[in-house]
């Protein structure tokens, strides 16, 4: 029997290439939102915040709870009128990022802060611990409304109300689809990224952040309140993750207590790919990974997706050891 490694041979040709690219980039934008949380925290305190993916997961459950509070369930979502839909999305975008930011900030305060001068691996393992605790929360968190009397799934993936109606905005024979959901992702993600860039470039807190990232001690000597800056970083990173949760939940319409693992892994990869600590890098990394994921699925095969992403990551790092946009810095001596 010949070794049939790649289940799906490149069959489709380039007919729908554009559609797959758009799909990949849209999902990449979600990766980017989460990757920003990794990269900002890393840039400032050199901590790989393993709990960030699970923070994102808790965000999706918070979103589910918000919807339930508004009385929206999976079966009533489609019937919700436009006003309620807009209100629900708005409330989610308000509450979930606040929740994630607050949680991220408190975790930093309580758990990572006392370890600032500890050996480098100590906060890393603490972050792993936090990630386990978060995952356990997610396991217990129900969030959704179930109308029937069947047992509520304890750990299985659960549907997220399909709040944003799915409508193809292009004609069916256009060779690609672009739906209202896709518009939503672009309309919310893009402004946020622009705002973040402006914030880091223009505001004094943003400058303080960059200064702290470059040299904490020097920043402290210049009168920057480093602790405040770190706190702000966790807040912003958490909030971005929260926006990511809302987008993900509305786009994919599923969540589960394990959702944070895979997304977190990809987002972390995106952050490193772009050059960890580098904000535009994280966005670029996210988009690249989204693209690879989508095109890989089409031209290599669904089962090789993850392997392909990591293989490409390794290849890129071999040739650009500091990531795509990372500065080629020498190790501080």
């Amino acid at each position: 029997m010949p070794l049939d490694l790649f289940a799906a041979a490149p069959a489709g040709g380039l007919d729908n290439f554009l559609q797959y690219c758009v799909q990949g980039l849209l999902f990449g934008a979600l990766f980017a939102l989460i990757a920003l949380g990794y990269t900002m925290v890393y840039g400032i305190i050199e901590l790989i915040n393993f709990a960030h993916g699970d923070l994102f997961m808790l965000g999706t459950f918070m979103g589910l709870t918000v919807l339930s509070a508004l009385g929206i369930s999976v079966s009533t979502a489609a019937a919700a009128n436009t006003g309620l839909t807009v209100l629900a999305v708005f409330l989610m975008l308000l509450i979930v990022p606040t929740f994630c930011a607050g949680l991220n900030w408190s975790v930093d305060r309580v758990i990572y802060k006392p370890l600032r001068n500890a050996p480098r691996l100590a906060p890393l393992v603490s972050a792993i611990g936090v990630s386990f605790v978060f995952m356990n929360f997610g396991l217990f968190w129900n969030g959704a409304i179930y109308e029937d009397d069947r047992p509520v799934p304890a750990a299985s993936p659960r549907a997220f109300p399909d709040l944003v109606p799915l409508r193809n905005l292009l004609p069916e024979d256009a060779g690609m689809r672009f739906t209202t959901k896709d518009v939503m992702v672009v309309a919310i993600t893009l402004p946020i990224m622009i705002a973040l860039t402006l914030f880091v470039k223009r505001t004094s807190l943003g400058k303080a952040m960059r200064a702290t990232a470059q040299h904490p001690t020097a920043a402290r000597l210049m009168g920057i309140n480093v602790d405040r800056v770190i706190g702000a970083t966790f807040l912003i990173g958490g909030a971005l993750g929260g926006v990511g949760s809302v987008m993900y939940a509305l786009y994919i319409n599923t969540t589960s207590y394990q959702a944070g693992f895979q997304m977190g892994l990809y987002a972390f990869t995106a952050a490193v790919l772009g050059g960890i600590g580098n904000i535009p890098g994280a966005v670029l990394g996210g988009l690249v990974i989204g693209l690879v994921r989508s095109l890989g699925s089409v031209y290599v095969g669904e089962t090789w997706n993850s392997a392909l992403i990591f293989a490409i990551l390794i290849l890129i790092l071999v040739f650009r050891p500091s990531g795509l946009l990372g500065a080629r810095t020498r190790e501080k001596v």
Binding site: A122, F132, V133, L139, W304, S306, A307, L317, V333
Partner: protein, 368 residues
């Protein structure tokens, strides 16, 4: 300066306990009566985990490289053993089980080490966390390759069954002592080997590398070679652990067993116990894997008995008249809380003993 924990001869105590456990007649049986768990068998898997963790310790503790993909080499070793031992492949037909076992040990160890050298060679120049991510990437690539190359690895089915290494006199499947002593012997050999290695020129070179790469390089040490040596040795030990694991489990399990999770858990053992300190690492392994494989199932069956004693026929559990849940609900059994308990333990240990429970005596692993 030694702390009290560092003064206790943990390694010797554990060794004596480990040897005494199967020798004392009827002890395992008594323990089974009390705990309801096949403790002797579980301890054998803990020995294997200890070999894996000691392998990782060479990379992380001795050479100071953060490695997040040790699971891949663990799995690679297990699969090499599987390929040699299952009947679908022609390799073991002519060889007696004992010889086949040693062949597996050799092939798994050397094979994993070679794989590590081939994979890590090109990325040695990456610094710190980039290297960590690349190792994570290798872990995933290897796992998916094992998963997808169905013609070779049987995909998610895993290769099975793997016969026991002895044929007649001692049947390992029947008596836990066989695997127990086998794994204990290997663990002891590994510990002695690493002890000698640490005191040798390479061991000292690794310390220099870990403390200051630049200084080490300027002293004329070949940094790349030292790193590669550590990675190869670590992966080789992981492969050895994988080989033993496949034997004890009697199959290669499925590739997901060797994913990111096991790499992270092993890293947790290291840091919990004390990076760079063999005794600490083993204490960490005993705590982490003991918690996962012994304490947790014991607690589960204990809680189950307690719950069913108080539950009503529909399975609702009431405390002082208030319904607190159903016997089936995840928060009324221990495994539902396992992640949180483990996570909190990690957080607390790091908070109060950031260098691990039994920190390495020599120098510090702090980076500037």
């Amino acid at each position: 300066m030694k702390t009290i924990l560092q003064r206790v001869p943990w390694l010797w105590m554990m060794f004596v306990l480990a040897v005494a456990y199967p020798i004392l007649p009827g002890l395992d049986k008594e323990v089974f009566e009390i705990t309801g768990q096949p403790v002797g068998r579980v301890i054998a898997t803990i020995f294997i985990s200890a070999i894996l963790a000691l392998g990782l310790n060479v990379v992380v503790g001795n050479a100071g490289l953060l490695h997040l993909g040790i699971g891949a080499f663990f799995g690679f070793g297990a699969y090499l053993t599987g390929i040699i031992m299952v009947r679908e492949y022609p390799f073991q037909r002519e060889i007696a089980p004992v010889a086949a076992f040693f062949l597996c040990v050799a092939v798994s160890t050397i094979g994993s080490a070679l794989l590590a050298v081939i994979l890590s060679g090109p990325v040695l120049r990456l610094r710190g966390d980039y290297f960590a991510l690349v190792t994570l990437g290798f872990g995933e690539v290897v796992r998916f390759t094992l998963r997808n190359l169905e013609e070779v690895t049987a995909g998610t089915k895993g290769l099975k069954p793997i016969p026991s290494p002895w044929t007649m006199d001692v049947d390992f499947a029947w008596n836990y002592r066989g695997y127990y002593f086998l794994t204990l012997t290997f663990l002891t050999i590994v510990i002695l080997l690493l002890r000698n290695l640490e005191r040798s020129a390479i061991g000292r070179a690794w310390v220099a590398l870990r403390e200051d790469e630049l200084a080490a390089a300027s002293m004329g040490l070949n940094v790349a070679r030292l790193k590669l040596g550590a990675i190869a040795l670590g992966a080789g030990l992981a492969g050895l652990a994988g080989c033993l694991f496949a034997y004890v489990l009697r199959n290669t399990s499925d590739p997901d067993q060797y994913g990111f999770n096991i790499s992270i858990m092993t890293l947790c053992c290291l840091i919990l116990g004390g990076v760079g300190n063999r005794t600490g690492v083993i204490v960490g392994v005993v705590l982490v894997f003991g918690f996962d494989n012994l304490l947790s199932p014991i607690m589960d069956s204990y809680l189950q008995r307690q719950l069913f004693a108080v539950a009503d026929p529909a399975g609702d559990v009431r405390v002082f008249g208030g319904r607190i849940g159903n016997t089936g609900s995840p928060y009324l059994n221990f495994s539902g809380w396992r992640l949180a308990v483990f996570g909190l333990a990690l957080i607390f240990v790091m908070r109060f003993r950031p260098s691990g429970l039994i920190p390495a005596r020599r120098g510090s692993t702090k980076e500037s």
